[in-house]
């Protein structure tokens, strides 16, 4: 049985580039259609992150151009800080290379893998090297690279490199060509729109095969760039603890204080005591069993939350509203940013907004926009904790009907910002069910629900007043006519009811047999001076009394009367006409005036 020897000969290492070449679906390149969205998403995420780090207002161009039956050229250009020439090949030509993988802070990209995967996909399907232009400042010239990836070794291959002139003083431009299709164009535009909403400081210009769209910025302020923090003692797993302990030369106490967020001497000593260790032990000399005790102690001792204001960058209530209103017309909008809190040692902040009316479709369930670390989540809405939270809020108590999500012209936006957003799967489409996060989402939606309820209540109250005015001024007179006929008595006068109920200034327009009559009654206890506007196609030349002013605009006549009415005084205008158009009363406060058009 020397077979084991034979087999051993065949065994060898596999490069990570080879692995991903064969497993492109892991990185979102499983279909040509999805390839475009994945590439643009990775490039835009990188651009936004870089601009944030450099504190410049992002100005991003996204271009998609069909160059061949199946081949598209994707261009993404930003005005970020640029990349130093030595690093360009590594950033774009090596998988698993980046600056944010080991940092604990809110960022969009993280793995250092996304954009290199696009380069890999390009060389696999078209063989065309990716072009990168980058310039780090006004004093330097731009560098232009053509790059490939050496799959066997996962190292960049520089096909060409030259210095060129470039009109941007700083920034990066990438051009990738691969086999793809534009079948998911709508989703792509959605992605860009949603990205613009949660990055209100960014201008994104898109040229999708000749079709230009600009998503303009609404804020001129760069959001502060989140700073990395040390790991929190509650958010570390055994494997990681073991690793950083082995690399540390200090005592257990020094290690705890120096390597973790929010651990001072008191806390460290408490942990060490609980773990039954000597504080002066060198941490890299601890046995596995001792480390395990230390980990348990670290997680048992109460530690303040990590410094969220430093490592997180919420959008803020004002900018969320501005971002949403820019893209969607709404009658009502309210946003809330919750205080930061913690799950398993990871800081997070929930922000949300609720919109109502306007151009939001009135039929069906609410629209739900989900975001994580300023990146829109486009797929798997049903599997997302945000969705289940939005469904578990009792919207009925806020005046909305509900089938899971609330129904009607409602828009809900939720943003989860965290040093470690928990996704349900590798595709990063849905947030996992973490009780702490769910609690915050439910709370913020309840707060917003209460705001919406107040708005709806005010709106309904206004409607109700209008309804009552119609009942009293329009229907009751008809009841009076019918009832008088039945009891065979003279027509009963209903104006006392009007006065008693309304206690307002009431203007009524009614047209009968080509005669327009506008009645104005001052049922208030005070004298009022009012101006009556009547806009219609009737010239009203026989009006009694004559208008104080007439304006003819495009065949419509705006007739204006001014008049002072004593408390309780009644007045009317009459003229021959069709009775179309509108009536308005000015000079009287909104709360004490009622205008009823009985011709409508």
């Amino acid at each position: 049985m020397v077979l084991a020897e034979d087999l051993a000969k065949q065994q060898r290492s596999i490069s990570v580039a080879e692995f991903f070449e064969k497993n492109k679906h892991l990185l979102g390149f499983d279909s040509p259609t999805r390839g475009i969205i994945t590439t643009i998403k990775e490039a835009v995420d990188n651009a936004l992150d870089a601009c944030e780090e450099a504190e410049v207002l992002p100005d991003i161009f996204v271009g998609i151009k069909k160059v061949d039956a199946e081949v598209y050229r994707i261009t993404v250009e930003d005005n970020g800080p640029g990349i130093v020439p030595e690093n360009v090949p590594l950033v774009f030509g090596k998988l698993l290379y980046g600056s944010r993988f080991h940092q604990i802070r809110q960022s969009r990209g993280q793995q250092g893998i996304g954009i290199s995967a696009a380069v890999l996909y390009a060389q696999l399907t078209t063989g065309i090297p990716t072009q990168v232009v980058s310039r780090t400042g006004a004093k330097a010239r731009a560098h232009r690279f053509e790059l490939l990836i050496r799959t066997e070794t996962n190292e960049p291959e520089i096909v060409s490199h030259e210095e060129i002139d470039w009109d941007r003083t700083h920034g990066t431009r990438i051009e990738i060509q691969f086999k793809s299709s534009l079948a998911a164009k709508k989703r792509l535009v959605d992605y860009l729109r949603l990205t613009a909403i949660v990055n209100p400081h960014a201008r994104i210009t898109a040229d999708i095969d000749g079709e230009m769209t600009v998503f303009e910025r609404v804020s001129g302020e760069v959001p502060p760039c989140p700073k990395p923090i040390l790991p929190h003692p509650h958010g570390i797993e055994f494997g990681a603890l073991k690793r950083i302990a082995a690399a540390n030369t200090g005592t257990v106490e020094e290690f705890l204080i120096g390597s973790f967020s929010k651990v001072g001497k008191k806390t460290a000593d408490e942990m060490i005591a609980l773990a039954n260790l000597k504080p002066t032990r060198k941490v890299n000399k601890l046995e596995s069993e001792e480390l395990k005790r230390l980990l348990d102690a670290m997680q048992a001792v109460k530690v303040p939350a990590p410094p969220a204001q430093q490592c997180l960058s919420p959008i803020g209530e004002d900018l969320i509203c501005k971002g949403l209103e820019k893209e969607i017309q709404l009658d009502f909008i309210k946003a809330r940013t919750r205080p930061s809190t913690v799950y398993g040692g990871h800081s997070f902040i929930i922000e949300a907004a609720i919109g109502y009316g306007g151009k939001v479709p009135p039929e069906g369930t609410a629209q739900l926009f989900r975001f994580a670390n300023r990146v829109p989540l486009l797929y798997q809405q049903g599997a997302c904790a945000i969705t289940s939270c939005a469904s578990q809020v009792n919207w009925k108590s806020y005046g909305l009907s509900q089938q899971g999500l609330p129904m009607g012209p409602v828009l809900i936006m939720v943003h989860v910002a965290s040093t470690n957003v928990p996704f349900t799967s590798e595709s990063k489409d849905a947030v996992a069910s973490i009780p702490e996060i769910e609690r915050e989402v439910v709370l913020v939606l309840q707060e917003l629900g209460r705001e919406l309820k107040t708005y709806l209540y005010r709106r309904d109250k206004k409607k109700q007043q209008d309804d009552r005015a119609r009942a009293i001024c329009s229907v009751i007179p008809e009841i009076a006519a019918k009832v008088s006929e039945i009891v065979e008595l003279p027509l009963v006068d209903t104006s006392p009811i009007e006065g008693k109920i309304m206690r307002k200034v009431v203007a009524k327009k009614r047209t009968v047999d080509g005669k327009v009559r506008i009645d104005v009654n001052n049922y208030t206890a005070k004298e009022v001076t009012l101006v009556l506007y009547n806009l219609s196609r009737d010239a009203a030349e026989d009006a009694v009394p004559r208008p104080d002013f007439v304006d003819n605009m495009d065949g419509e006549y705006n007739k204006v009367w001014r008049r002072t009415l004593d408390a309780g005084e009644a007045w009317h205008i009459a003229y021959t006409g069709s009775g179309d158009g509108s009536v308005d009363l000015r000079g009287v406060e909104d709360g004490v005036k009622v205008v009823v058009d009985l011709d409508v």
Binding site: A471, I476, V483, V487, T494, I501
Partner: protein, 362 residues
Amino acid sequence: MSREEMDALAKERLVGIAHAWYDQMRDGIVPFIRLPTRTKRNIAYDDESEVWKYGERESTRAASTEKGAVHLLKMAYLIGFLKQQLVENRSSTLRELYYISEGWKKAKFAAQDESNLLIEDLEIIAEVQREAFHLRPEEDGASIFGPLRLRETTRRGVKEMHCQEDVGEAGYPIPNNVDNLEFIDHDAKFVIAIETGGMYARLMENGFDEEYGAILVHLKGQPARSTRRVLRRLNDSLGLPVVVFTDGDPWSYRIFASVAYGSIKSAHMSELLATPQAQFIGVQPSDISDYNLPADHLTEQDVSALKAELTDPRFATDYWRNQINLQLEMKLKSEQQAFASRGLDFVTKEYLPTRLSEMGII
């Protein structure tokens, strides 16, 4: 009360409603009406009349919203129309009324349901029955067969008939307006109200009416108002005991309940429509096991109807609780005609005589 007196009363009541509104408006009050709430929770047993009536709960409809105002406007138009109909001595069906409202503009009925409900409201406020407004139902009247002589005042004159001798095999059909009916004479010991036509014909064929002195009344399912009024009057004015014979399922028990206690929809008329003395003869759930009747399984709807009956105040007696719980245990129901499995004569020779003597009627 003569027909003329009745018409005058109805007209007076209708105009009275309008007059109240007239006065309200004259005094600067938004016109309104008050009505008892018409739900299961608002019916209560009235000891004096021994029937179920609406309780104390009331709701108010005022013209202070557009919806409420339009409701009153419709009622005003309806009152106007009915007054005119009484003056002209015409009549109409509920369905015709709905079409007549076509010309009423804002007061037009949106659906038949709406006009029906308004008529019921008017019955309650005016305290007369819709027949007094000269309104006819669409529903079928039922039939009578038995030793009973009666007189009916029709538009074509007064007719006198004996319900065995002067009628065909289908019996005497009960007219819509029972007020025009007078009982002259009878030779009966009791009245048996029967749910299905098959059983009605069986009793007739087997000569049950002659042998036991029974007036047979065919209910035709859930009985129409006119049928219930006839039963009440047979009981009330002739002093005849009334027994009800239906299928053995929850829906049939409701037929019995509407005969004996009145229905929720017409609780305002209970004194005229309900026959509190009426007794349930069968099919009882216990009969199913006692006589080993062919039976079907209860459906889910049956079970929930039975459970609803357990909470219905009209079934809150030991007898019904026992029978309903027994049925829920057995999970079975049987039809009247299931007795045929024991021979065509079993029901008239065995079952009914036994039950009637148990109940002390024969």
